[in-house]
């Protein structure tokens, strides 16, 4: 049953990906789906910037603008950044800890398909009466007043994809706790694995409040609930709290893996071990912890009173300390190193000043009394784009270039990679730096247009020009992907030559079973240690034997499809008679698939020793 080295037709490949439970293939699925949503969110961003290029522009209408801005935020956070982070985690973490797969391969596939169907569901709103239009934060009074089904797509779509994320988070927690190779103690785990670990814990605690909020809103909008109706004893501020109790940790859910990616890249291309590893771990955990203590800084102007505002202001400032520790540790990782400026390293190096700007404006936002001025102005827009683009997107681009050979066996073209980098880097600062000043000059955020004569013209024009640079960078990246896929040369285990962690010890891409023999880990940067001792491979921790693998399954796809169908039914149940039956059928599909999953005994299969030996020989020859 092994699928090793077998040529297949298109149909078989598609079926393979629909049913796969292999973390490496799921990583590719996440990368493709997240990449497509990233392009979609980017397109929405371009529409926003074109509309705001000049005052009183009528490129799009006011109502449509609100849909675009909502979908830009929602898509970029939930459907682009999150899955791309998961793509990196799936591609790398199991190999980094010396495991053959994640703890629950079936759940891993289920997590992906839930995210995917949730995202598709959300985006179908464009064709079915209008997208959500209350901002990605979807504050309750506005979202309940929204006349179209857009918000219903938002609450149902995000619930489905949220389940996927939660499942993914739990899976990685268990994987990292249970599946580490012998010798891989917690304090020998690569920084990216640590980041994944803390991030997964954050997901575990942050997504349930969001789900609660979404269910309340679903009740209010579709089933006659009154959780957010002040006239009937409800309260809209509760939504804001629930949303931000999720929403703030979400920032760290995105940015901690980014920190992890950069930690790997700094160490690799400085040819030095990460400076202050233990304080980096400590800082990561501390950021994760503090991330839950600061949500109300998004609500300084809500009227919580000075005591709450002061407490949350000081708590927020405290996060700057562990973040600062990280910045200096990265700088001193490079200090005394031998720095090679590859494309991933360019992003990593550019990340430091970019993210520092985003970080310090974060501290400025934390000063509650002054935040009364910044809040909901373009200053905030500038701030969080510095954090999310300058931190997360840079990291995802860096990570994609860095691990592309590990995922696909071919190197992205370095020249084109650097072109992308410069276009994106220049465009990014051009677009967002000026927005700090637009906000301070009195421009509120989420405006579909602005009137002339208020001093906003120049800044907005510059910002729009910058956006086109970023778009151009993205197009070059796409060309690079295509060219590499068609013409790229196959590479060996350690194409960057300075790889330090376990993923660089296996072939590119890694074989289905990752490690022919589970490795023995003898310290931080396990592969580097072996290389420095002049060894070619890893020290094995077990004799060569048959490898037990999980069977592929279509059930994750079916379970997710059922929820997708159910969401459609319930969304229209107030308008059409077929709504409720369709909803019930959808739920039955899901529950039925879950039932089959429970009763079918699936023991998986074995890759025999001889097959492994043959594959290893081929891998070494390639």
């Amino acid at each position: 049953m092994s699928t090793l080295a077998r040529k297949k037709g298109v149909g078989a490949v598609i079926w393979d990906y629909l049913t796969t439970v292999d973390h490496k293939k799921i990583a590719i699925l996440y990368l493709i789906a997240g990449g497509i949503f990233f392009l979609l969110g980017g397109l929405e961003a371009m529409i926003i910037r074109i509309q705001l290029a000049v005052p009183n522009n009528d490129f799009i209408s006011a109502g449509f603008y609100n849909e675009v801005l909502t979908m830009h935020g929602t898509t970029m956070i939930f459907l682009a950044a999150m899955p791309l982070v998961f793509a990196m985690m799936n591609a790398v973490v199991p190999i980094q800890i010396g495991a053959r797969d994640v703890a629950f391969p079936f759940l891993n596939a289920l997590g992906f398909w839930l995210f995917f169907f949730g995202g598709v569901f959300l985006n179908l709103s464009w064709f079915l009466g209008g997208a959500p239009d209350a901002g990605w934060t979807s504050y309750a009074s506005l979202s309940l007043a929204s006349p179209t089904h857009g918000i219903d797509f938002y609450v149902l779509g995000l619930q489905i994809s949220g389940f996927g994320t939660l499942i993914g988070g739990i899976n990685f927690l268990v994987t990292i706790i249970n599946m580490r190779a012998p010798g891989m103690t917690y304090m020998r785990m690569p920084m990216f694995t640590w980041a994944t670990f803390v991030t997964s814990a954050l997901i575990l605690f942050a997504f349930p409040p969001l789900t609660v909020g979404l269910i309340f809103m679903m009740m209010d909008r579709l089933f006659g609930g009154n959780f957010f109706d002040p006239a009937l004893g409800g309260n809209t501020i509760i939504w804001e709290h629930l949303f931000w109790i999720f929403g703030h940790p979400e920032v760290y859910i995105l940015v901690l893996p980014a920190f992890g990616i950069f930690s790997e890249i700094f160490a690799t291309f400085s040819r030095k071990r990460l400076f202050g590893y233990s304080s980096m771990v400590f800082a990561t955990v501390l950021i994760g912890f503090l991330g839950f203590m600061v949500w109300a800084h998004h609500m300084f102007t809500v009227g919580m009173g000075p005591i709450a505002n002061a407490i949350f202001a000081v708590a927020t400032m405290a996060i700057a300390v562990p973040t600062g520790i990280k910045i200096f540790n990265w700088l001193f990782t490079m200090w005394g190193g031998s720095i090679r400026f590859t494309t991933p390293m360019m992003y990593a190096v550019a990340f430091i000043p970019s993210f520092v700007i985003g970080g310090v404006t974060g501290v400025m936002n934390a000063t509650a009394a002054a935040d009364y001025q910044y809040h909901d102005s373009y200053f905030v827009v500038a701030h969080f784009h510095y954090v999310i683009v300058g931190g997360v997107v840079f990291a995802l681009l860096a990570g994609a270039h860095y691990w592309w050979p590990k995922m696909f066996g071919k190197m992205l073209d370095e020249k084109l990679g650097k072109v992308t980098f410069w276009l994106f880097f220049i465009g990014f600062h051009l677009t967002f730096f000026i927005q700090h000043f637009l906000g301070l000059m009195g421009m509120p955020r989420r405006v579909f247009t602005f009137l002339p004569g208020q001093g906003f013209e120049t800044g907005n024009m510059i910002s729009t020009i910058g956006a086109f640079f970023m778009a151009a960078g993205t197009i070059v990246l796409l060309a690079n992907v295509v060219i590499t896929t068609v013409k790229g040369k196959r590479v060996g285990n350690d194409p960057w030559e300075d790889g330090r962690t376990l993923e660089w010890a296996v072939s590119s891409p890694a074989p289905e079973y990752n490690f022919a023999q589970t490795p023995l880990v003898r310290g931080l940067d396990a592969y580097w240690i072996e290389k420095m001792e002049g060894k070619k491979g890893l020290t094995p921790a077990e004799p060569l034997g048959d490898i037990h693998m999980p069977n592929p399954s279509i059930l994750p796809f079916v379970i997710s499809l059922g929820l997708f169908v159910a969401a459609f039914g319930f969304l229209f149940h107030n308008d059409h008679a077929w709504g409720t039956p369709v909803g019930v059928v959808g739920l039955l599909i899901t529950l039925g698939a879950m039932f089959f999953r429970s009763i079918i005994d699936d023991h998986g299969f074995h890759i025999h020793k001889e097959e492994v030996m043959e594959a290893e020989k081929k891998g070494a020859g390639a």
């Binding site: 504050y139 002040p230 809500v302 520790i325 430091i352 009195g442």
Partner: protein, 354 residues
Amino acid sequence: MKKWLRNWRLVSLVSAMALLLAGCGKPFLSTLQPAGEVADMQYKLMLLSTAIMVIVIAVVTIIFLYVVTRFRRRKGEENKIPKQVEGSHTLEIIWTVIPIILLIILAVPTVLYTFKLADVKPMNKKERDVVVVNVRANLYWWEFEYPDYGIITSQDLVVPTGERVYFNLKASDVKHSFWIPAVGGKMDTNTDNTNQFFLTFDDKRAEEAGRLFYGKCAELCGPSHALMDFKVKALPRGEFDQWVEKMKNAKPVASTDPVVKQGEEIFNKSCIGCHAVTPVDGRPEQARLAPNLGNFADRERIAGILEHNEENLKAWLKDPEKIKPGNKMTGTYPALSDEELEALTKYLMTLSVQ
């Protein structure tokens, strides 16, 4: 001596930044050209935090530039293996402690100002002698009620300069946010509760800004969120008192002009259900569905955004949807002929208290 030097550096950095930032934006709109006590406090905090942050950025940038130039891999170093340093406790303590000190320097005034700005006791005393305005935000217009004077106006807030003006803030439909950038910001108008805060309009700087500040809605509230502007007239106390008296005593003037009379008839037939035409309006707020037009002719803008003239007023009355998409006025009255538009416009332009 050293401390003096450090202070001197900070002060010069702050003043250099203040000079630089003052060039930003318009005096009637920019937070960087503060025009009152609240905006001043906020501006001071901005400058202090920016100064600290510029220091941080400078330190990081210097180390950064040194590192990336000094330690790049040069030709002939392909096989060089740098020393694998684990870390340094001294350095780590330094870059933990210094940021903590910087943050404490910032946190103290932050907490202090946060409490100062929340001091609304004078407006909640039984015998109050301060100006209080009830702000009610609606899709997409603002109502300003002066409970102590029994008058109501919309779109143009009128306030006395040189004293604290207190606000009760709420929304009647969806959440909005009340923001006058140059004078201080900002507080949400919730649908659930009433928020309170105060602002101060400095007389001299109001004069410099033309006695007219721009106000904005700062919370996404629907299609025309971007157009939910209001204006603030900041008058010396004496002029403000005169304005209040005029508002209190405003009476509809019986016009002899037949066109105006026709306009009044149209208004009484189609508009008066929602719009009041006297600043003294005893109806409860639920009945006040649309802006009070008692001093309409004295306003600064049509619909909060267009220049105040008859042409724009006609355009608004003819098709409000085109000017403010999603507004609540569209479709609530029958279509008007050009003659009727002319009459209604003429009538509305007589609604003045001046």
